[in-house]
Structure formats: structure tokens, C-alpha cells
Amino acid sequence: MSTTRRQFLKIAGLAAFGLGTSSALDAAEAVAKDMPGAKYDVGGKHLAAKRWAMVIDTRKLESREDYDRIIHACHSVHNVPSIPTKQEIKWIWTDKYDRVFTDDMSQHLSPAVREKDYLLLCNHCENPPCVRVCPTKATFKRADGIVVMDYHRCIGCRFCMAGCPYGARSFNFGDPRPYLKDVNPAFPTRMRGVVEKCTFCSERLEVGLLPACVEASNGAILFGDLDDPNSPVRKALAENFSIRRKPSIGTQPGVYYIV
């Protein structure tokens, strides 16, 4: 049987296709592999909750030293630089009542409440606008309600800063390292061009520690599971009148204030 030109071209085409796919399969096999037998696990010491939340008892925080001690505890653990300009980075900071509880319409508030400083931090919302606007999923909400960032993935677009109704996010306009006096070698810094914010100390919860601000507050800040009626936060909320920041916008913040 003699081969026609048509048959020859068909076979040649098939052969070329076969050669091409086999090399593609080889390439696919060369892709990085996990070590067989290796597994990932939650650490033995980690603290778990359905919904982490914080209660700040503002009655127990009075002097500037109280606030500074808490702020210093957080910022030193997380390598937050102190930049003295408008390009400041803050994870936890203070402000006055009218800038904090902007929904409050009371004209004649007690001067003590109005003049007081209030601790502010990321509210770890139930419906976080920053997560919704992040184009790269660098900001995401974990199953336990904590809103965290993957700085590897942040492209510095600052949509989240525009989205956050609480001003809880800061942008690194420059390299933060020159502004860090003592670097905590156990925690990373950030680089130029990423946004950063409070993490509810998710990295500390995973090794069995409470957040740094809670530890430094001498009992003025409570932390626990909002879904557990026996947790310290639920008990404090059951016994006291508490408010949250901007409740009308529906973000359901996870930080409560006892005033």
C-alpha cells in the first residue's frame, strides 16, 4: 500500500501533536511538589474561637501613661514605626469622643466623657468593607472573625484605606525601617508600598498568647469569643452598657466600648 501525501501529513501532524503534549506533560511534572508525607496542622497551644471580639472598658483607662503603655506594647511587638509626619503608621491610637463615636447626636454630653481619650484600633468587622474592596484578596477575613492582611500580596492600591470607615489602616509611603529604633526579631517589618493595620494579634493567639494590648492594659481591655456566653467579653457586655463605633453603617464592629 503506498502512502499518499494526505495520509503522510495526517500522521506527521499526529506525531507532532504527540511530541508536543508529552513534553508539556513532562513540564507539568517538573512543577514544585510537596514532600510526600508532610502535613500541616494547627499548633497545640493555639487559642480558638468562633468570633474573636474585644471590650475596652474606658472607665479603667485614665492617664496618658495608660494609653501610651498599651500603644507601646502593640507597636514594639509588631515593629510599627513612629513616623512624626502625616505619613504616620498606627495600629492602635487615641482620639476624642466626637471623632470616635460620630453617630452620637447628644448635644450635652458629660464633659468628662467628651474630653476623654478613647483607644482606637481595627474593629475586625463582621462585614468588613476593606475586604470587599481589596482587588488582590490581600485583606481577608478568617473563620474566627479576624480581618488580616497578607503583605506579600498587597499591591498598595489603598482601596482598603478608602473603604475602612474607621481610619484603621496606614500606608507605608516609604521604607519604615529607618523609623524603627528596636526591631523585634520575632516579627517582620513592612516594606514601602503596602498598607498595614492591627491583626488582633492573630500570630500571638496561635501560640497561646492574648493580644499585646490586652496584656498591657491591666484588665481594662478584655478579649474573648463573642459566641461563647461564658467568655469574658460576653460577661462584660451583659453587665455593662456598651457602644460601638458607627453602628449605623452595618459593619458590625468587633470592638466594644464600655463608657
Binding site: 514532600m35 500541616y40 496542622d41 499548633g43 517582620p188
Partner: protein, 126 residues
Amino acid sequence: MYNGKYIIPGIVIFVGLFTFPFWSNLLTPKYERPQLAMPADQKECIEPAEYMRAEHMHILDVWRDQALREGKRAYVASNGKVWDISLQNTCMKCHANKADFCDKCHNSNSVSPYCWDCHVAPRGNQ
């Protein structure tokens, strides 16, 4: 041949230039695997050295996602040993000499990962 006196030298020059990568490679010294500073007090890494050499970036990539997104901060190695997932607190505890471990190999292979823009290099270096 017409214009041979132009064409033949031209061909010679062209072939010389075209094969530049080959003969320049023959003239330059051969690539040698850099001598890395291994941790003095540890015999083996979390996984066999061959695997670590080829896949350490893959492991770091998966570690980041597991720790950050899944909340799984314990790595159970193929030999059953458990490690904390942390570049700064696990890897660099042993490999404290970044300049003679990470950098040496990365430099000779012309790769410049930007881990240390954020992660803090071990102090054992300075």
C-alpha cells in the same frame, strides 16, 4: 566568486559574533557550587537536603498560605518531626548566617528574592 574579498571576511566575522556565547563560555571559569555555611549544631534540615535545595521556595510559599490563611502554624515533616511555621523564628534560627547561606547561593545564581525587605534577617550576621 563575485565580491569574495568582502563576503568571506564578513562570514567569518558573523560566525565569530554568532558563536560568542559558546566560546566566551569556554574561556570563563567553570561554575562551581558555592560553599555554604551550614549550621554547626544541626545535622539535618526539616526535610532531606536534596528536597530543600530544589523546593525551599515552594515550601516557603505554602508555609505562608497555611500559616496566614489557614491558621495552621505547625509543619509535620515527612519524618514526623513537628516544626513551627516561621521563616524568622524557625529557618533562620539554624541558618543564622544569612550572608554565607542564603545570599551566597542566590548571588552566584543571580536571583534576588525580596524576603528581607520585610522579614528581619538574623542578628548573627552582623
